[in-house]
Symmetry: C2
Subunit: 226 residues, 2 copies
């Protein structure tokens, strides 16, 4: 359902040595899988997620979503695929600061023209325990509450593919496991889930674990402990 | 060395019920202690840290740094105390986006007029493993690298008191333990360290653990496992 083939991402910084955030990475994720991506800080996990999620174009290689080569699409067409099929939880949340939690969560609905259906944003926030924080702006929320708004926004459009970049980094154990249980439930209902995490306890929820180091895949195997 | 007495922090949101982020909290942290603060998302940890670190004024109660009542100081005097005595690692990093890593880390030195001493900012970044990222702006750094710039900035002025709000939330295990080892070393050299964490493994490094729930102290005890 989501595939990258021989993908590289290079950054050239001043006159220095080019930085290979990704080098020749190939990953194929099947419909309905639950994948965890792990690896050290700076190893390329977010870069890989941004390419999988059509938020960033690779320097080389192909990206296919449902068999369609999306690296060939223009920005507008790419944004449409993203909005229809993918829900993305950003490592740094990316919430609009002057906008309430409920309005932040409504954004993907406006784009997919589903905002006529009232109550979706409210329900999404209730599902992550923020029913009493709907009108708070991000600056009026704790770090973990902001993270949960970002999660609610990723899920409100009921996407086929959920890509979550360190979705529990700011959450206590109980809130982390509530979020993971939510992802597991969505996965059992047929959604494909890919999460970046640096915590082995969180990775245990996945059926497949991909390890990345220095921009390359180090290992990619079934999680035998599930 | 840092003390809050009967401190409360109330937010009034629209016409709703006031939110007590902190209610009658009293905590006294002694010179040279290593304290971990734990608790659920939204329980008041960052609010308590901001009050301890002179970044936010309580609605009620007293805040004392080295015996001086800082809640009575004006903003400029408070900022001076903060710059001289406290190094703060923010949960959301608070880096200047258009500014390189090394310039971000130099900021506290400019304020304390120690920026004449060259190499301090570079050394601070090298100590957190970012010697090869000095000229990158935050947007050109991974989440964990941004977090480490925030840590370097908190430590560059060699503060007596280090307050770190979830300093390892975006770091893999190895980088987390490197940062904790660094804090431990600074603590053995006499610095007072207070870290908010939601990970029990990280809290194990502390000699005292404070648990907070719903804006109030739930427990405050020595860590018997050290
Ligand atoms: N715009 C950029 N210019 C230069 N280098 C960049 C840029 N963006 C990212 N990098 C570098 O690419 C590498 C990979 O970054 P990436 O964000 O994918 O890491 P990550 O695995 O998500 O790390 P973390 O666990 O810390 O979030 C890092 O070393 C980073 O410094
Ligand atoms: N400006 C504000 N207006 C209204 N409520 C606020 C404001 N700032 C914080 N709050 C509320 O105060 C409570 C405590 O927030 P705080 O940031 O201290 O929590 P926390 O323990 O650090 O949580 P986390 O672990 O998620 O970072 C939260 O419920 C939050 O919604
Ligand atoms: Mg990342
Ligand atoms: Mg917090």
């Amino acid at each position: 359902i989501v595939k990258v083939k021989d993908v590289s991402k290079v950054y050239k910084k001043d006159s220095g040595v080019p930085i290979y955030a990704l080098r020749n990475v190939s990953v194929a994720i099947g419909d309905g899988e639950f994948v965890a991506i792990m690896g050290p800080s700076g190893s390329g996990k977010s870069t890989l997620m941004n390419v999988l999620g059509c938020l960033d174009r690779p320097s080389e290689g192909e990206v296919l979503i449902d068999g369609q080569k999306v690296n060939l699409l223009d920005d507008e067409a790419l944004a449409r695929v993203r909005n229809q099929k993918i829900g993305f939880v950003f490592q740094s949340f990316n919430l609009l600061p002057r906008t309430s939690a409920i309005e932040n969560v409504e954004l993907p609905l406006i784009y997919s023209e589903r905002d006529k259906i009232s109550g979706l944003a409210k329900a999404a926030l209730e599902n992550v325990g923020l029913g009493d924080r709907l009108n708070h702006q991000p600056g009026e929320l704790s770090g973990g509450q902001q993270q949960r708004v970002a999660i609610a926004r990723a899920l409100v459009n009921d996407p086929e593919i959920i890509l979550a970049d360190e979705p529990t980094g700011n959450l206590d154990s109980r809130a982390s496991y509530e979020i993971l249980a939510l992802f597991q439930q969505l996965n059992r209902q047929g959604r494909t889930v890919v999460i970046v995490t640096h915590e082995p306890d969180i990775a245990e929820y996945a059926t497949r674990i991909i390890k990345i180091a220095d921009g390359a895949i180090e290992s990619d195997a079934a999680n035998l402990n599930v």
